[in-house]
């Protein structure tokens, strides 16, 4: 086996890896082509022609804007909640050893480890049992729950890297708990929190399975997309929206990548 890291990879391995990467990326690239096709009724390939018309049509669609706006609002509020809860949890788990740390980690991961449909239906039946009508807040409730883990993972990794004795050094030099929080803890975990927040935003912005159970009649952008997938109405508009969604989610992912480069596991293996 080629064990020297500078050795060249076998051709077969190279080809297989390249093919795998192509398999992952070509479908997404297709979305960009279809957004500009002149064909309206079918998914014809190759596109008979290209146009920018659908960008304008989509721009003027009120329902798309409403769905987008709702998604942004939900993702913003859910992200803020998840950042608060995830950071508190990470701080508690990494500051002290106490009985039940493992259990808490498991509890945080559970909402994302169990299939989304379970979280969704559990929340829906709980809402109906408690007579809570669907609202903006029922969506946020669900999203914040499974976003906690993303913030938590990022924060825990950074807390682990930020040696505990930095906090002791700060207190030793005369900073009380709040000064230490402001001058040492926040500057050191800030970027990790921001990265976690960006990922949480992307996760919430894209979520559909839990949302179908907690949204009622409201339409987030993914719910709007789902409707179009199940009962296509205007395909070109869907194409454009799909492209925009890809672009919008790429930005926070790239941002999070650059914030956590060099060290802690960026972007958490579990989405």
């Amino acid at each position: 086996m080629r064990s020297d890291p500078n050795a060249r990879a076998p051709l077969g391995l190279k080809l297989a890896a390249a093919a795998g990467l192509l398999f992952m990326h070509v479908p997404i690239l297709l979305i960009f082509v279809y957004a500009f096709t002149t064909e309206e009724k079918s998914y014809q390939w190759p596109p008979p022609g290209f146009t920018l018309r659908w960008l304008e049509v989509t721009w003027n669609r009120v329902d798309v804007w409403q769905a987008l706006w709702l998604s942004v609002q939900v993702a913003t509020v859910a992200t803020l909640l998840a950042m608060l809860l995830g950071t508190l949890c990470a701080a508690a788990v990494s500051r002290t050893r106490f009985f039940g740390r493992e259990t808490i980690s498991l509890l945080v991961i559970l909402p994302i480890a169990l299939p989304g449909i379970i979280t969704g239906i559990a929340l829906r039946s709980a809402f109906s049992l408690a007579d809570i009508p669907f609202s903006f807040w029922t969506i946020v409730l669900g999203h914040a729950t499974f976003c906690i883990v993303v913030v938590y993972n990022n924060a825990v990794a950074r807390f682990r890297r930020t040696a505990g004795n930095l906090i002791e050094a700060s207190m030793d030099l005369g900073a009380d708990g709040f000064q230490t929080l402001r001058h040492v803890i926040m500057p050191n975990i800030g970027t990790a929190l921001l990265a976690g927040g960006m990922l949480a935003f992307a996760l919430s912005f894209d979520e559909v399975i839990v949302t179908t159970f907690t949204a009622g009649q409201q339409q987030t952008l993914p719910i709007w997309m789902l409707e179009e997938l199940v009962r296509p109405r205007e395909r070109p508009v869907t194409n454009v929206v799909a492209m925009v969604v890809v672009l919008v989610t790429f930005l926070p992912i790239l941002g999070a990548y650059y914030l956590t480069r060099g060290g802690d596991s960026p972007a958490a293996a579990e989405k």
Binding site: A163, D172, G174
Partner: protein, 337 residues
């Protein structure tokens, strides 16, 4: 005169682990004091108790006569140089040093000027703009020192301060720390597992084992008159002679220690012993003898006339060199270190 630091029956237990167990100790103002012991002996926990990172489970601690057990670290006028320096990675060297003054609310201009003075004190003038990550180990050590001194502490704590440095740098820093301490007249308390470091730097030493202090004294006292087998073993490389042998030599049944450099080679009189092995150390020669079934190590002059291994030689030492210890005179496992 009030002690700089005083432990009164202090215990720090972590569950079943007795990290510090019934500690009584007084450190005088202006002293350079070493806490010496193997890892897990409680020396670091004792340092952390003074700093306020740990609270005693029983007993109490006084700093310059004031009860400190319920005082958080930031209200103790005590500062620490951490083992891995714990420099703030997000701050420049100058900001690191000025941190303590910033927390006190000293205006920016004053605190940066003062930090610059401290950097000069530790011989790093002009390094203020750098990031701690860009410094060498020795430079980080100096920054940590400057940062801890900026608040003019009454007691400076040093946790294995030279542990991470290479040998040459370590020797140089030992000298610098000593002269710095003389100049500032601050009480220094430092933790080390290196007996050579403790002997060469400290005014007084406390030897720790299993959460307890085995002996407190000046380096000379500790070295020449170890009170127990543990101290004799840990400080230096003493021959520890068992009660049976000591009884035959002196008539008193007790454990005794005999420093290798106190053993002399004589042509007449003394005690007959068989040479087992010898090794050349440069300035000296170390020889191991079999004496009545016990091994005795001797540090001799490099040109000492030794017989062939297996042949006998005559060994002698001064009466006062055989130091009787306080351990219970029950025979332990044979042989000496």
């Amino acid at each position: 005169m009030t002690s700089a630091v005083r432990f009164k029956n202090v215990c720090r237990h972590f569950g079943a682990i007795r990290a510090v167990d019934g500690l009584n100790l007084e450190i005088a103002p202006g002293e350079f004091f070493a806490l010496l012991g193997p890892s897990g002996s409680g020396k670091t926990t004792s340092l952390r108790l003074i700093a306020g990172f740990e609270r005693p489970t029983a007993g109490h601690i006084e700093i310059f006569g004031e009860r400190a057990d319920a005082i958080p670290p930031y209200r103790r006028n005590v500062n620490t140089v951490f083992q891995d320096y714990a420099l703030f990675p997000h701050l420049s060297v100058l900001e690191n040093v000025a941190y303590g003054l910033k927390m006190k609310g000293v205006a920016k201009k004053q605190r940066l000027a003062r930090a610059e003075e401290l950097l000069e004190l530790v011989q790093l003038p002009g390094y203020g703009d750098r990031s701690p990550a860009k410094l060498s180990g020795g430079q980080r050590q100096r920054v940590a020192l400057a940062r801890a001194l900026v608040n003019e502490p009454k007691v400076l704590l040093l946790d294995e301060p030279l542990g991470a440095l290479d040998l040459k740098l370590r020797e140089q820093m030992q000298e610098e720390l000593k002269s710095l301490q003389k100049r500032l007249a601050i009480t220094f308390v430092f933790v080390t597992h290196d007996q050579g470091e403790a002997l060469s730097m400290a005014d007084r030493i406390a030897v720790f084992n299993e959460g307890k202090i085995m002996q407190v004294g000046t380096p000379e006292e500790i070295y020449r008159a170890p009170r127990s087998r543990f101290v004799a073993d840990f400080v230096g490389s003493s021959n520890v002679l068992p009660p049976d042998l000591v009884e035959r030599l002196t008539g008193t049944r007790a454990w005794a220690s005999l420093r290798p450099e106190a053993v002399r080679l004589v042509s007449r009189g003394g005690h007959s012993a068989t040479l087992v092995s010898s090794s050349f150390l440069g300035a000296q020669r170390r020889a191991v003898f079999d004496f009545d079934g016990f091994q005795i190590t001797a540090l001799l002059a490099a040109d000492a006339k030794l017989p062939e291994p297996g042949k006998t030689a005559r060994l002698a030492w001064g009466e006062s060199d055989l130091h009787l210890m306080e351990d219970e005179p029950v025979d332990g496992p044979e042989g000496a270190a």
